[in-house]
Subunit: 472 residues, 2 copies
């Protein structure tokens, strides 16, 4: 393909991109395809000779697109969103064009320095103490792994990096509601699932600091080294907010690393009225928040903040001859701030978003989303056939249907599974489920960049009408 | 920003993108900025109110761009390339627009099924046995970590995942020329640097299988469990090719996992004349190759292939309630094929590239690049003032300048450091250095998607003329 062909196709695609976003509501939010259906339309071998872009784009539209679930659809209220926005898209076009690999300062000086700046901007917007510094990583899974590894090396004076595990016994703490990636990370880092203590939660699904303190003391008494507490600023199931300050006091007293998983809800720290969620942050060692979830910045863009950057860098730095540059003593080489050597130029899209929206613009979006959540929570509370199953501090609402006559838990769960299946199969609304206190819960998160009140009303109407139809 | 404004700016950007690539040679390949220079032009705080896109794009052009090193410049001959191409760029525009998060089949069915298909296409193009299956990850650092973790769990029957390390002693093997990410991964996985055995290389910088066998036997005799051998199909310093079949025999006899790091050079397996590098692959358990390096596919796009996908999945799968879907028993959820939960739709760009180039198109590009390398190697061999320091099986050429009168190693190294600095400061050519057999080496890789013979001639002329000027 030559430059002229690229120019022509790229212009066509820009119109397609704008049309796609404008008309996204005309599409089913959730793909209506059976397993194997798309693969069955794709050849088993790659082509010998090159094909024209017309044919490739036609297959994109005809085969791939009907099999996609549309994450940018305002009726996408499943999981947590992975939001995009126009400024973010523009930046992604530039990032792809530059094609820079941002492992070292020298391989992309402006990318490294912009990353430092936007991380400082974001730190200040989130209300994190000024001594924190940040790095952009890919996902919260990876950032939390970095926290565990830093904690591991701090407590062993880099001994496991050097000599590996040698009989030490460690414990890592999170609540029973913490994200599954924490257990995955605990395994990767060599601790094993058995070292993960899942601390009980209160009736709002937040970690109980007294239970945490008791467990840490019991571990110490048995010769186990308490290593790291991972507090959730917004659990995955219900955005429960662990009491960070109270947990921090336990961590300080016990000299344990405190990592805060604020992957989704952390963005709400931009709002003064939500700043209570973080407390003073006095004892926080690290925090992860994903602008790629609730801050209109394309996936992937995870912000990982640490109080002690030296500790992070010393956990990861390896300097082979072929990576050394003449300025290493004067610059940040972000390859030493995480697991991967290779790094995309992710700071650009965050810069575009922060500047284009401004703090006020993002705050306004967050407040709209939280209003949507509060409206839904109130509507559910007012309806006799539905029951809310958790507090909704932000815009994630967990609830269930109480079908007439269904009195035992098993029947209620079966009915709710049926309701969710019907809604998902309608492809008009995408929501998912979880389990809270043993109970099967429907879970709805109206938080897509472009979601409006009419979508939330439509979602709630669909839930009610689908339930009513199932009653007949 | 509304749809009309996006459409207008995106069209402007398309012209900028096409112009940028067309005129990239007019730019210095390497940024000419001092540490702190770019940061000094960026405000210390993010804006309260949103800003217009004109201002943001003006700053992109005026502040960011002059501070970028241009990885898509044909005179970029440093490190290994991270190549883009027009079809890849078009796909990146679509991937960003869809903004799909491809953790599970259900969250993006077409993305999951396309990924399975293109991984099969690539497996066949590379000549890997048909039982291998692939997954797209972000970087080779991560893929190699997956191999180490799978090997760890295979040998302990998932015991470390469950209970952590408990006194076992393991050893991991690679050559003295292996990539630094291996040691980083060995640390992350909890083995410690001390468990990494760096096996001596022969005078072509390839691992010596007899030394490997001896070291494995010695470890076993001392009660250490040999866990994993990581063979390089193309070392980072000089693309030395470890003898995979001979190493495989050792691994089979000793029941040790064999992972092949073919991050850069593996793409050359598309050429029948390079297929010897992999041998029969009979004993290979896993292999990583980066289409984002030498296959014209935007970073990041790492292909990780395994012989036993069940082993990979069982190493990583965790199924919390909120991630369960109704089809989990019938589909691939690629979140269980690696470390991160969240995943971009990376298969799209690889599909666009493989179809647009076709196998023949990629083969033609690879052959051109290898010819460039061979031409350079021959030119260096013919020149009395330069010395080649390693075989050049592909297009990475390692050499040094022998300035007149410089007889001791220290003087030669100092002269070559000076030569490299002069070339880098010229910003006309970007190459880097390494160390081979203790000797400081310049390292040049003419492998950018659009590099032509005239660029290679210009690079060689610049090296000679800069050296000559230093002589004066």
């Amino acid at each position: 393909m030559d430059s002229e062909a690229f120019r022509r196709h790229a212009h066509e695609l820009v119109d397609w991109m704008a049309d796609y976003i404008e008309s996204i509501e005309e599409r089913p939010v959730k793909a209506r395809v059976a397993p194997g259906e798309i693969a069955g339309k794709l050849p088993e071998s790659g082509p010998e000779a090159g094909e024209g872009m017309e044919a490739i784009l036609a297959d994109f539209r005809g085969i791939i697109l009907p099999g996609m679930t549309h994450w940018q659809h305002p009726m996408f209220m499943a999981y947590f969103p992975a939001n995009s926005s126009y400024p973010s898209l523009l930046a992604e076009m530039l990032t792809a064009t530059l094609g820079a690999q941002c492992m070292s300062w020298e391989t992309s000086p402006a990318a490294a320095e912009l990353e430092g700046r936007v991380m400082n901007w974001l730190r200040d917007w989130l209300g994190l103490p000024a001594e924190f510094e940040g790095v952009i990583q890919d996902t919260a899974s990876t950032a939390t792994l970095c926290a565990l590894l830093s904690a591991r090396e701090r407590v062993t004076d880099f001994g496991i990096n050097e000599r590996g595990f040698s009989g030490q016994r460690f414990a890592v703490y999170c609540s029973t509601e913490a994200h599954s990636s924490i257990e995955k990370d605990v395994r990767i880092a060599g601790f094993g699932s058995a070292s993960l203590r899942k601390i009980p939660v209160d009736d709002e699904f937040a970690m109980q600091p007294r239970e945490l303190a008791a467990r840490i003391e019991a571990d110490r008494a048995e010769g186990v080294t308490p290593l790291c507490v991972i507090a959730a600023l917004g659990t995955t199931s219900s955005t429960a907010i662990d009491p960070i300050d109270a947990i921090g006091e336990v961590c300080r007293a016990q000299d344990v690393w405190l990592h805060v998983d604020a992957a989704y809800a952390g963005t709400a720290l931009l709002l003064p009225e939500c700043r209570w969620m973080l407390g003073s942050a006095r004892d926080v060692d690290s925090l992860v928040v994903n602008p790629h979830k609730w801050m209109a910045t394309n996936f992937d863009c995870t912000a990982y903040f640490v109080r002690d950057p030296e500790m992070l860098v010393h956990t990861f730095d390896i300097q082979p001859e072929y990576l050394k540059t003449r300025v290493d003593d004067r610059v940040r080489n972000y390859r030493d701030w995480g697991i991967q050597l290779g790094r995309r130029f992710r700071a650009l899209k965050l810069w575009f978003v922060m500047r284009s929206f401004g703090r006020e613009g993002i705050q306004a979006m967050l407040r709209r989303h939280i209003e949507h959540g509060q409206w839904l929570a109130a509507a559910i509370d007012e309806h006799a056939a539905f029951e809310r199953l958790a507090p909704a501090p932000l815009n994630c609402v967990c609830f269930r249907w109480l079908p007439p006559g269904a009195e035992d838990e098993a029947t209620i769960e079966r009915s709710n599974r049926g309701l969710l299946a019907k809604i998902q199969d309608s492809a008009e609304l995408y929501l998912t489920h979880t389990r809270l206190g043993g109970r099967y819960a429907l879970r709805i998160v109206p938080g897509q960049t472009r979601v409006e009140h009419r979508h939330v009303e439509a979602a709630w109407r669909l839930v009610r009408e689908t339930a009513a139809a199932l009653e007949d």
